[in-house]
Symmetry: C2
Subunit: 384 residues, 2 copies
């Protein structure tokens, strides 16, 4: 698609697979004897390995955060707005690492992988992985890359939760943490939306209790419904109104149960697109990882105490129209960090795009992001 | 259940069926040759028939708005908080009429009725009924009851839309209109939620394109999902948080895909309850009636012009935490009424219960409601 590659793109990139033969024990008590992590890197690691940045992805993200896999690609990686030469996460200055999380469906070991112990696909038997488990597996990747300390760990939404968990669990291993459009734990309403999505997937007769691969089917309806619903929560009422309003698809009301309004046809399109590129068991797993995330649980529900060991400097960013993880939720993180005496900057960005704003080219947001990262860059030992 | 009947209850009530043999032509262009309307009444009609009040129900409501059908009933009618002797809609002063809307599933002609022309159940062939069609059919009921002018037409949510449509379509036939927790039309986000609900119902293999009765099945999963989702939008994030928080059902995380949190188990209970008492084709019809409601459409999208012919005095009520139809949406109605020079009172009630607040015993709300209705009562010609 980019007949001429944009000058601020990381350009053509390709993923690497790291096979790890050491078992990993997960929060659920089970362990994986071995596993793969697929990752991409952008930029160059400097001599003293002090300029590495880890990108953590959200629910439906993966390792392909920036650039293009080939010249025919219609779209770049999911965070291309923020990663590239001269961008907020400047690949002229940083060595950026982006991986597909354990339990994912884009190459890292997950429900679609072969269980070496049974030589069959894991399917629904793949263990539920938590945010802490991800941090643990990401630290194994860091070890392999010989990165003892990240210049920054960065993520939005569920990615922001991983970034926060890094700062809590492995305080020595990062100098900065950027927590964008996140929350310290899900609300009952957040969990409720996830439960509707899971119920939709599980009720699909093509789901076969998660063994759809063995039946050579896909739970398209269920996963599609989950995506439609998710999509509503990613956008603000205002953004949806601006984009679609009450515009009719054919200019007239049909008095039937098929599509009348543009918004309906948009949701159907989003849904049918998604089911071809994402795995239902991974979707279930990701929603449970979200539901379970609650780092204060281990600290008597005291979020300030949870933050006590953090050594990283923090940037927290929220967006005014985000109703999935509203500014109030980011402020809970900020207040706990302040109460714990940590160094924290907070930006509430005036944006009408809802939760998805964190992925978008919003000038004020990217300016603040870039300014912060420039400061991070000056602290990197060897800026070659 | 009420071993002793509460003193402020309308007591034991029973529905009446009105059979109408005159055809009704609907907005979709089709007509019903004949139809039934089931209704209940509470209180006494006065001599000059000036104290009659019409109650319009919301998406899953029906004619049973107050009192009990028998002494074993676990719950009274759906608006018992507001209707009864000494209550906001005081049955010592008003003759209250509450009907099941056309297209409903509680006795009025709807998808589960027999089509007299085919002698088979209508099912999905039942025409889509609009808010205007309901007003038309409700006016036929008024004619039969010899009520030429309602003291007030009152409704919440979709019921408030019917009340507003009464004031617009038949201005001579009501002296007051009470529009509670409503909107002048659905937003793209509102429509999107309805579309997810419809998609869930239609994707259920037991739906059989709406002919589930012929297959002796019910689309339980689909309708249940629709209800779960609806329920999330009826409650505020805050109310859900207060009621359920992140409380675990068994005190511990299961690391599985079954219920972990109380909110999940509550939603499942709500859902399984609902599918036994509501019809999926009616649910589809009701959501389309909501989507299509847009009275300004006939007035070049000018809401002020839409209000021009209204003769009723108006009370508009909204609730601070209602995010389905937020106070902003009620204010659109209020502003249009004011711009059109109409007499309107507006109350924004501080309540954390979300959209469902309109059904609840909230002191400030019921006080304002009652004070307004007392004024309506003083205007009724013959207060015997």
């Amino acid at each position: 698609m980019p007949v001429i590659m944009p000058v601020d793109s990381v350009g053509l990139v390709s993923p690497t697979t790291l096979h790890i033969d050491n078992p990993i024990t997960l929060d659920c008590g089970r362990s994986l004897p071995s596993y793969d992590l697929v990752y991409e890197t952008y930029g160059e690691l400097n001599a003293d390995k002090s300029n590495a940045v880890l990108i953590c992805h959200a629910l439906s993200g993966d390792h392909h955060a920036a650039g293009y896999h080939d010249m025919e690609d219609k779209k770049p990686g999911w965070w291309d707005s923020a990663i590239g030469p001269g961008k907020a996460i400047d690949t002229n200055q940083f060595f950026v690492v982006s991986l597909n999380n354990l339990g994912g469906c884009k190459g890292s070991t997950g429900p679609n992988s072969i269980n070496p112990e049974t030589e069959k696909i894991y399917g629904p038997d793949f263990p539920i992985v938590t945010v802490s488990d991800w941090v643990k597996s990401q630290s194994v990747l860091a070890d392999q890359l010989e990165i003892t300390q990240w210049a920054a760990v960065i993520g939005g939404s569920l990615g922001g939760m991983q970034a926060l968990q890094w700062a809590i669990s492995l305080p020595e291993r990062l100098r900065h943490v950027l927590i964008i459009a996140a929350a310290p734990k899900l609300s009952a309403q957040n969990i409720a939306f996830n439960e509707v999505a899971r119920t939709a997937i599980k009720a699909d007769p093509d789901f076969h209790d998660g063994h759809y691969a063995a039946h050579d089917t896909l739970p398209r309806h269920g996963l599609g419904l989950a995506r439609m619903l998710g999509h509503i929560t990613y956008l603000s009422d205002e953004a949806m109104g601006e984009k679609f309003g009450r515009e009719l698809r054919t200019g007239t009301i049909n008095y039937g149960y098929d599509v009348d309004f543009q918004i309906e046809s948009y949701l159907r399109y989003q849904s049918s697109n998604f089911v071809e590129r994402f795995d239902a068991n991974t979707y279930l797993l990701m929603t449970k990882a979200l539901d379970y995330f609650d780092p204060a649980k281990d600290f008597d529900d005291d979020l300030t105490a949870t933050m006590a060991n953090i050594k990283a400097k923090c940037l927290v960013v929220s967006f005014t129209s985000d109703w999935r993880f509203s500014p109030k939720r980011s402020q809970e993180i900020v207040n706990a960090l302040l109460n714990a005496g940590k160094q924290v900057s907070y930006a509430e960005i005036d944006a009408h795009q809802g939760h998805d704003a964190f992925l978008m080219s919003i000038a004020r947001y990217l300016e603040i992001f870039q300014t912060y990262m420039q400061q991070v860059a000056t602290e990197c030992g060897d800026n070659t």
